[in-house]
């Protein structure tokens, strides 16, 4: 069964586009990444999945249940961590955690205590006095304590120190092994690469790629760095051209022959051709520039 299914999901805020005809499918048990630049529609998608906003058209289902008609049943299966975890004034950590458990009509005391212990969070502290990262920990405990089948996490590691980030992902990995589905919206591409098996890329409100992280990362583009002088004008498949000390560096995804011909006549003292790193590959999704014919094939 799919944990998340959206069909032609569309949301307009007045005349402003949020998301447009989004078709997404996340299988139960997946560790799924959701990436895209600011304003791409990630939050709109998540808010539609959780029933916080009403779609203009299309539908969203969680474990086969429609979020609009069976919202309570859907939300009983979901744990949500917003990008900015905010709570009511004057509350202590334990009050917020208990409120969340009470709203689920579950006794999550033991699990909450274990999570607080692992995340080094003092339940007696007042939330108003906590740092951004520690407030995020409170949000994590609230989202995870009831052991939901689906975890929807929006930029979950913002503000967390590296040790806590590691512990947090360790918890997520354990939950995922126990069968929980993890839907991770993140700008941190290394997190997506390290933990997610599949990912979707959203840009301009539309899904532009959805595949395994490995396939999304595959490319025939190369990072070319050279010392010396090379005429680049008229060369197709160039992007991210940077002047370096005594040379130039660029990403190249065009035919090899024209590049080799230019290199042969250039005044070059040193040359380095490497595969681009994941960040460079994913960046083209953010900027809209082409980089890889392989990726284009995957998208098709």
């Amino acid at each position: 069964m799919d944990a998340i299914t959206t069909k032609e999901l569309t949301k307009y805020y007045g005349k402003t586009r949020g998301i447009e005809r989004l078709n997404l499918s996340v299988a139960e048990g997946e560790f799924f990444g959701f990436i895209g630049p600011n304003g791409a529609g990630k939050s709109t998608t998540i808010r539609s999945l959780l029933g916080l906003i009403v779609p203009t058209s299309g539908e969203a289902k969680i474990f086969g249940k429609n979020i609009r008609t069976e919202k309570e049943a859907v939300l009983a299966e979901c744990g949500y961590l917003p990008s900015e975890a905010l709570f009511y004034p004057g509350m202590r950590v334990k009050d917020a955690v208990r409120l969340s458990a009470d709203l689920r009509r579950k006794d999550c005391g033991a699990e909450a205590a274990a999570l607080c212990e692992r995340l080094k969070l003092d339940p007696a502290r007042k939330i108003d006095e906590l740092s951004f990262g520690n407030r995020k920990k409170v949000g994590i405990v609230c989202a995870l304590q009831a052991k939901p089948r689906l975890l929807i996490l929006d930029e979950p590691t913002g503000g967390l120190d590296p040790l806590i980030q590691h512990e947090f992902f360790e918890i997520l990995r354990e939950r995922n092994e126990e069968g929980a589905t993890v839907f991770l919206s993140s700008h941190v591409l290394s997190e997506i690469r390290r933990y997610c098996r599949r990912a979707a890329v959203i840009r301009g409100g539309s899904l532009i790629a959805c595949d395994s992280v490995e396939a999304l990362s595959r490319t025939n583009a190369r990072r070319v760095a050279l010392r010396g002088q090379l005429e680049l004008d008229g060369l197709d498949g160039l992007r991210d051209v940077k002047e370096t000390e005594g040379g130039v560096s660029f990403l190249y995804s065009g035919e090899m022959k024209p590049l080799l011909e230019r290199l042969a006549v250039g005044e070059i003292s040193d040359l380095n051709v490497t595969e681009p790193d994941l960040e460079e590959i994913f960046l083209h999704y953010y900027t809209g520039n082409e980089i890889s014919s392989d990726v284009r094939k995957e998208e098709a």
Partner: protein, 261 residues
């Protein structure tokens, strides 16, 4: 009733401040009565010669020299305005605060329907207004007994009932407004309470604006009319409660479909 408990806990400081302030002012007013009783003939004459404003505050029909008249005008204003402001502030922020504080993401992503959230929030407002009214009633009656006056039970009961219903009506209207707001709710709530208060003053001053009585709950709380008639004006009361119910209905119709951002 998780949300009821949560709301009551969240609003307890404001509740005790408002209840304490209104009760203290009422108590002081009542404790001043024995001292002022002797001077009230002069005061009544003075108030009776203030033209339209005498009618606006109902001072043309009441004798300030009696506890009934004094309580209906002086204490009525304290209880009326204080209760109205508290009811407005309570209700106008009860839904809007979720977006203002950005806590909608926390509350509405739990398996609780929006209708249930609204109902529990409304119950919490009702409970707070009931508690405030009961405490203030007890303080008022206790103060009257403490100064050795006979309690005019019927007038006191009717006045306090009227002001409780006023609070409910204003809370209903403001609850409706709250469903459409994201921020700035406190200003709106105070504005509504002030507007309704001045609508009643205008309705009392000029005959041509008398129809305004059907749009403000202060009209059925008119101390002079309650003392004179020995009852609440059923027509104005029904119109007022209908307005409150309309506010609640508007909230229930719109809020479940609202985009929470």
């Amino acid at each position: 009733m998780t949300i009821v408990r949560h709301e009551l806990r969240q609003g307890r400081t404001a509740f005790w401040i408002w209840t304490g302030a209104i009760a203290a002012l009422l108590g002081i007013c009542i404790f001043l009565f024995p001292e002022m009783k002797g001077e009230m003939d002069t005061v009544s004459d003075m108030f009776a010669s203030m033209g339209a404003f005498t009618a606006a505050f109902g001072m043309d029909k009441l004798n300030f020299g009696t506890l009934t008249g004094y309580y209906a005008i002086e204490c009525g204003n304290v209880l009326g305005l204080g209760g109205a402001f508290y009811a407005a502030l309570c209700a106008v922020d009860v839904l809007a605060k979720e977006e203002r504080l950005h806590t909608a993401d926390l509350l509405f992503t739990h398996p609780v329907s929006r209708v249930r959230v609204m109902t529990e929030k409304l119950i919490s407002v009702f409970l707070r207004l009931t508690a405030l009214s009961v405490i203030i009633y007890l303080v008022s009656v206790g103060s009257m007994l403490a100064i050795g006056e006979d309690v005019p039970w019927k007038v006191v009961n009717l006045l306090h009932l009227a002001y409780f219903l006023l609070q409910l009506e204003i809370a209903g209207i403001c609850f409706g407004i709250s469903a459409f707001l994201k921020r700035g709710s406190v200003g709106v709530g105070l504005g509504v309470a002030f507007l309704l208060y001045f609508m009643n003053l205008i309705a009392n001053i000029t005959k041509s604006a008398e129809f305004l009585k059907y749009f403000t709950p202060f009209a059925f709380c008119d101390g002079a009319a309650i003392v004179t008639d020995g009852k609440l004006d059923a027509g104005i009361l029904a119109a007022g409660l209908a307005l409150g119910a309309l506010g609640i209905a508007a909230a229930y119709l719109s809020y479940p479909k609202k985009d929470l951002t």
